[in-house]
Symmetry: C2
Subunit: 342 residues, 2 copies
């Protein structure tokens, strides 16, 4: 029933002004201890809950942070969220998560909604698949503070917290080349409009160049970040004549790798004998697979933590400089690359 108790209601009930109630409830110094006590008590008994909507309209600050995630069912992101929460929990900021479902259009909608709600800042991992930066440029010109994480939009002057995607990709590819002496290597890439898609692809290419391995265009397939896209891409490779097939498959992330592994299994091939496969993420499933997946471990929790810290600093200090923060990955060598069981 209690249809919205306001300061005014409390004031009337007590025969004081709304202003005094406001002061008492906000613990301002200039209010009599006795009346303050009375007011606080009355407020509780009436079930008063401050209207942040009104508060925000006055203060132009909402103490909320929005988070834009590309794909909530990709286990990497929930783990990032836990890192973000370690920082925001106990701080004054409340978190609002949104999921873009890998669609840039949804991401824009989410960001617009967040802006309309006047969140103080937004943490974004972008699903961008277009070349047009105007949307982000406008965003960065607004009062809303922005920090990108993992999938960053670069060169716009915003801070970015990510992992060393490029060198990690080089490193895991080189593992195949040097430890397993494999030269026929395929790459299932992510979209090139997304930073991590681009960086990991470049890292892969760099490994080939470094070892003078020529690139076979048939073996570089733009797959995507999901199981299904890895599955489809792998089937394209399997459709090649046997003598034209690669010996190993490097993938943009673990879901993609897991899709590829399924395709390989369904085609009757085995891992790592017929195809070595490596991933990127260290998904919860990676070590549980029948042939555990060699992959790059991304410190998701740490990424979230650093991103949240940077955003709050950016919100609270006008002159906080933008910066790129790279958290380092570690290689997880398991069996899918051909390494024997430890």
């Amino acid at each position: 029933m209690s249809s919205e108790v306001t300061l005014k209601h409390i004031a009337e009930a007590l025969g004081v002004s709304a202003m005094t109630v406001s002061r008492a409830l906000n613990d301002r110094p200039n209010v009599d201890e006795q009346t303050k006590k009375k007011i606080v008590e009355k407020a509780r008994s009436m079930g008063y809950r401050p209207n942040h909507v009104a508060k925000s309209l006055v203060s132009n600050k909402t103490y909320t942070i929005g988070v834009v995630i590309p794909e909530i069912t990709h286990a990497f992101f929930p783990e990032v969220v836990r890192g973000i929460e370690e920082v925001t929990y106990g701080s004054d900021y409340q978190l609002f998560l949104t999921n873009a479902n890998e669609q840039f259009s949804r991401e824009m909608e989410a960001i617009r909604a967040l802006q309309s709600q006047r969140v103080d800042g937004i943490l974004i991992s972008s699903s961008q698949t277009v070349e047009d930066f105007s949307f982000y440029e406008e965003l960065l010109n607004s009062r809303t503070k922005v920090v990108f994480f993992d999938r960053c939009v670069e060169n716009l002057g915003a801070s970015c917290v990510s992992v060393n995607d490029r060198s990690s990709s080089t490193r895991i590819t080189e593992h195949l080349i040097t430890t397993h002496n494999i030269k026929k290597i395929s790459y299932l890439s992510g979209p090139q409009e997304v930073s991590v898609g681009r960086k990991r692809y470049r890292g892969f290419m760099e490994a080939l160049e470094k070892h003078n391995i020529p690139v076979n265009d048939d073996w570089v397939i733009e797959a995507g970040f999901r199981e299904k896209s890895g599955y489809n891409a792998m089937n394209k490779l399997l459709a090649l004549p046997p003598e034209d097939r690669p010996e190993a498959v490097v993938t943009v992330n673990d879901p993609c790798a897991i899709g590829a592994i399924q395709a390989i299994g369904e085609a009757g091939f085995s891992i790592p004998d017929d195809f070595a496969v490596v991933g990127f993420t260290d998904d919860v499933r990676a070590e549980l697979l029948k042939v555990p997946l060699t992959t790059v471990h991304q410190p998701a929790y740490e990424v979230g933590k650093r991103a949240a810290q940077k955003l709050i600093k950016t919100i609270e200090h006008e002159e906080e400089p933008a910066e790129n923060i790279e958290v380092l990955t570690t290689l997880k060598i398991r069996e899918s690359c051909g390494c024997g069981e430890e």
Copy 2:
């Protein structure tokens, strides 16, 4: 720089009143087509973004829905979120997710923050671990509409969307009894203050009763919903003298089962020969385990969808009656219960 374009700014720039601008931008009928066009164009060029905070203050409606999740890294919940999104995406409502991290105190904070933001409704899966319902009673008396999902708080008159926890738990337990002729069965339970903890436990007990199997108190251990608690609880069972140990372990959910499985492995025992294990959830990992996990498949996506639909109806129709909606589970028979490979 563009520090917050308002209706007034646009009005001044065009020499009309703020009211006319408001009407034009909201596509109201009573405004000249010519002026409307001019206004819409000017608004875009000035980068106008409506201030929902102010809008909400007037309309007392925010077109936002809050979601309270107990544990974002438990894969069941992200999948529920996808179901919720299928409904809200394309509707007028924007979603704000919060994570309670299995702590009731955090859940209360999240709900309070959501209420202060004046969300129109909240979808809650409760982390409640106390017997005090006053917090929820107050919540349900406020203007905020509430629908519980999965972990419901019952008998408060709010709608609830869940699965048939009790009978599913009976069914999977009976599978062990009738198909595998196992009588020495242990139960790793969830907290009894949480609905699903309670219901699944009762379902388990019902199966024993039905088959006249006496309960061994040493075998019923309050574990919890996470890997770690399953791991610890299983170690307690393993500490019993060999002749006092059960032959099978029924668990409250898959994470708990996975923890127990790890403890069993570390102790040098094997599944299902030494211990049969069954779960509840059908986590992504369930079928990937070395011994694939027999479990109850929960239609998470469907739960989310139904809950979101019910909430929106409840928000939009004052007289929408509360109801309990049960979505049915299916049994996933794999090898961890002793069933041979198909």
